[in-house]
Symmetry: C2
Subunit: 207 residues, 2 copies
DNA sequence: GCCTCCTAAAATGTATACATTTATACATTT
DNA sequence: AAATGTATAAATGTATACATTTTAGGAGGC
């Protein structure tokens, strides 16, 4: 079990809600669990910290991030900015092969929509929409921001509200994509992400 | 010398051109140089890798990134997207105190423009423009993308072409900022960053 | 009951040691 | 001379050990 594998395994546990926002991660406990020494665990922690999934202060225990309302707001604004830009580039580049990959991802997403795989399938669908843009670094940044959101979604047991409307958005996105209707696609996506933000922020205690 | 300090020191050496793109970083050599064991150096490497400044493959030596033309292109597009958005938010939020901080940064930037501190001062100036937006995460992403660019700028000894025009852009940006002229400010900034990209890409061998 | 101070336990940070993998140099072959 | 194979050197990966720091819990005072 290399440090890279440990980082990936821990990332999955964090975004799946095994560790909650603010919860501590102890080097020793994790080292025992993966049957390695603390050295590779430390390496993995540095990676997770640089990805922004945990807070790491010297001599203090690692903690899963616990974002404030303002920070969540910023993350969703960044998602809107990066995802909409990626979608536009994607629509401009797209070929027929891309479209069929998207329709397969849409079908999968519909099947998983009401299971615990919904978040994974949702990302698979959106990734298929953005992939034709040919922007690997931008995709990595988007995936990272989405992981940040998932920590809170999974940690507080948030489920998508209005699953039907959410699936309708996906179908409408695919239609706009196929018709190369950039502006309509961006409008749908922006509202889609803003809706997700509302659902997450609704779980915060009112000020 | 903690791992965090080592990461920061190495980042500075990399973006200042002490290590060139593609050059190897050896744990042992760096450990000796900073008078520590290889453990904190390894921690620092993980941080630099997650920041995208070095490539890290298990069992292989760490290497400074060496971006292709396509990758440089993507980084500059991301900078335009994130920096212009930040500037707009900044203009909408700004107060008089912000303006005076910007004018101080502009003065510094003008003084350093033809010294080896030009890149640092340039970032200080742009950071002062973006800070009123109140977007710390977006700022960190921008700073990271700028570091990526600086690796190539410093590594290949690229100097800003047309320093006069570049300083004029800064002055014009401040004017637009003060007048809350969003669209004009974004136009200037977009062209300003696109010009920087041209200078960097010009150093690549023609295809 | 609540706060402060102190101590023991626990967790982290890193140096050292050693196993494993990769890189380099040299000899051998074509 | 170029290419291949091999042995040596060097670099990496991680387990262990120990120093340092933080955390947790309780005694004592207000």
């Amino acid at each position: 079990m290399s440090s890279e594998q440990i980082a990936d395994a821990l990332e999955r546990e964090i975004i799946c809600g095994h560790y909650r926002p603010g919860e501590e991660l102890k080097q020793g406990e994790i080292a025992n669990r993966f049957s390695v020494s603390r050295i590779p665990v430390r390496d993995a922690f540095q990676v997770l910290a640089a990805r922004g999934l945990i807070d790491l202060v010297p001599n203090r225990r690692a903690r899963v991030i616990n974002l404030s309302v303002d920070e969540i707001d910023e993350v969703y604004d960044l998602r809107i900015l990066l995802e909409c830009d990626c979608l536009v580039r994607s629509i401009r580049n797209r070929t027929e092969a891309d479209t069929s990959a998207i329709e397969r991802a849409l079908a999968h997403s519909n099947i998983d929509a009401r299971t615990d795989r919904w978040a994974d399938s949702d990302w698979m669908f959106h990734a298929s929409l953005y992939r034709p843009a040919g922007r690997p670094r931008q995709m990595a940044m988007i995936e990272n921001l989405r992981s940040t959101c998932r920590i809170h979604i999974a940690g507080y047991g948030i489920l998508p509200s209005r699953t039907d409307g959410w699936l309708d958005d996906h179908a409408a996105l695919v239609e706009a994509f196929k018709e190369r209707a950039e502006n309509r696609a961006v409008e749908i996506l922006e509202r889609h992400i803003a809706d997700a933000r509302k659902t997450v922020l609704a779980t915060f205690p009112p000020v």
